[in-house]
């Protein structure tokens, strides 16, 4: 009896703590949203005006029609999609070779491919910048994309999944004279579709959010991606708080939507990328 009462109290306290923490985590996003739908004068009013009256979407329309925001969107969409597709194709091909083909030096080469796990990308910034400079790729989409195509984690995860496919499938297909590419594309990829989707979404979110490299490789505003462009808003749009929050929300919206739509896949992707699941 005592124990039951104690655990009810514990449950109530737990829910209350949870609600308080949730409120702290939601509050900044909520405040940003409230600010974004206020007329500029209300957003910066003193004393604070809590609720917008009237609610206005003017800030959103004005930042979408002036300035570089549409270009940044375009650059982000293009670079993130290209990075995602190429990363998946390159990783799946390599992972298939490591998983299903036998050749001398296979294990050594696989370990070598995983070295990338340990090298912090930040340590490569200077030579990468020099390389892009030599390739005349500064301030280009190619310059943004090229160093982001390598994903040792994707190779590692895909290989684990390809390893689990029963050997008989491949043997039967080889007997039928199918090429390796066909076997991979026709059998291994469909059987691993779930994890491929999960890694695809995680790669897309990662590419969309990448700040450091696009920040290094671009300095002309037309070539920037969303995360880099957002650092320019104070100079590009002036000190308009409501507009700034509208831009922040628009910059985060695609990834928030991607997460909410594919919540389970995103979770699965992040977990397998961290090595905890798979």
């Amino acid at each position: 009896m005592m124990a039951a009462r104690q655990s009810v109290w514990a449950a109530v306290l737990g829910i209350m703590a949870l609600l308080i923490l949730m409120a702290i985590w939601v509050a900044p996003l909520l405040w940003a949203t409230l600010t974004a739908v206020k007329p500029e004068l209300q957003a910066a009013a003193q004393p604070i005006v809590w609720l917008p009256s009237p609610v206005t979407f003017e800030n959103f329309t004005s930042v979408l029609t002036t300035g570089n925001l549409p270009r940044w969107y375009g650059n982000s969409v293009a670079s993130s999609l290209i990075i995602t597709v190429f990363t998946l194709v390159l990783s799946a091909m390599a992972a298939y070779a490591f998983s299903q083909l036998t050749f001398p030096g296979r294990n050594l080469l696989f370990l070598f491919s995983l070295v990338g796990f340990m090298l912090p990308f930040e340590a490569l910034l200077v030579p990468l910048y020099k390389l892009m400079n030599n390739l005349h790729a500064l301030n280009t989409l190619a310059g943004i994309i090229l160093p982001q195509l390598v994903s040792p984690i994707a190779i590692f995860v895909f290989r684990q999944f390809f390893d689990q496919v029963p050997k008989e499938f491949r043997e039967a297909a080889v007997m039928d004279g199918a090429s390796e590419l066909r076997i991979m594309w026709g059998i291994y990829v469909p059987l691993s579709a779930n994890i491929i989707w999960a890694i695809a979404i995680v790669t897309f979110i990662g590419a969309w959010n990448n700040f450091l490299w696009p920040f290094i490789v671009t300095n002309s505003p037309e070539q920037m991606t969303i995360p880099v462009g957002l650092t320019q808003v104070q100079s590009a749009y002036g000190l308009h708080y409501a507009q700034t929050m509208a831009i922040a929300i628009l910059g985060g919206l695609p990834v928030i939507l991607a997460y909410l739509l594919f919540q389970r896949r995103v979770t699965e992707g992040f977990l397998s990328a961290s090595g905890l699941k798979g």
């Binding site: 702290i24 990338g116 090298l119 930040e122 030579p127």
Partner: protein, 297 residues
């Protein structure tokens, strides 16, 4: 590991000769990109650290001169100290809050799905979205936090508050990932363990102390290690929120490297910073791993 594998290969019946065509076709695209944009730059970083180079041209070899300068450079040591300070302010809180939010979320009943989304959404935001929002929330004159607490605190401009404020923003922004790892860890603890403990009369904190904590330890160790490395690699939030100021009081190693390379265009010296930084991270991760694994047994 390779020794074991090669013996098993020897014992295997005679292998068919390698067909190189598919191997090359499947591996070459990845290897070309990997060598060109990963391995080559990594080797270049080491090479450049022994040279006196600018951002666009590579200069002559000067031996260990960059490293000698670096070891005697008070700005470098200060930046390392700031990085360590940021790590102290973030590693334990991000691990503890990650664990707490995971446990509360798991016990949250109907709130569970919403709670998981609430804590995780900031993590999927670009860093500049997070910093724009927090610059506004913590704005000295017009910010909502100062309005509610009736103060004029300049959070990111006060030398004593700037780093803790950056750390707080980082906790908000990234704790969702740790929560996810802890949720997965909690999922792996069998329900029977809890039921057995309850039958034995374990209550409340006892259950946590004797069941959850030890069962969760592998996850905790993983989170601590990942977090330490992530915290040491701090750059973007500091750069965007304080620019390393006030009076360089928040300038971290990667920002010092960035300033050296791209403001002072001293690629040789910046590469020396990168090399030392890489070694520091590697040593830290190894030390922590040793320590955590000892705590486990």
């Amino acid at each position: 590991m390779t020794a074991v594998q090669s013996t098993t290969q020897l014992n295997r019946p005679k292998r068919a000769p390698t067909i190189w065509g598919p191997v090359i076709f499947l591996l070459l695209p990845f290897l070309v990109v990997y060598l060109l944009f990963f391995i080559w730059p990594a080797l270049q970083t080491v090479y450049l650290s022994f040279t006196q180079s600018g951002l666009t041209q590579t200069g002559p070899l000067i031996g260990l001169a960059n490293f000698k300068t670096l070891l005697a450079d008070p700005d470098f040591w200060a930046s390392l100290l700031h990085t360590a300070y940021f790590s102290v302010l973030t590693v334990i809180p991000l691990t503890a809050i990650g664990m707490a939010t995971a446990m509360l979320t798991k016990a949250g009943g109907r709130l569970r799905r919403v709670a998981q989304a609430v804590f995780f959404i900031p993590y999927v935001l670009p860093v500049s979205v997070a910093t724009l929002i927090w610059q506004w929330v913590l704005n000295p004159n017009l910010g909502v936090v100062n309005a509610v607490t009736n103060s004029q605190t300049a959070w990111f401009a006060d030398p004593n508050l700037a780093m803790p404020a950056v750390a707080a923003v980082t906790v908000w922004w990234t704790v969702g990932f740790n929560m996810l790892l802890f949720l997965a860890g909690l999922q792996n603890i069998p329900l029977e363990t809890y039921e057995a403990a309850e039958l034995d009369g374990a209550r409340g904190f006892q259950v946590f102390r004797y069941i959850t904590w030890p069962a969760l330890w592998p996850t905790t160790a993983l989170v601590l290690t990942l977090q330490l490395v992530a915290s040491f690699k701090i750059f973007s939030q500091v750069y965007l929120l304080t620019g390393g100021g006030p009076f360089n009081s928040t300038r971290v190693v990667l920002e010092y490297m960035y300033d050296t390379a791209f403001t002072n265009t001293d690629a040789g010296y910046a590469s020396a910073i990168a090399v030392v930084f890489f070694v520091v991270i590697l040593v830290l991760a190894l030390l922590q791993n040793l320590l955590l694994n000892r705590g486990r047994s």
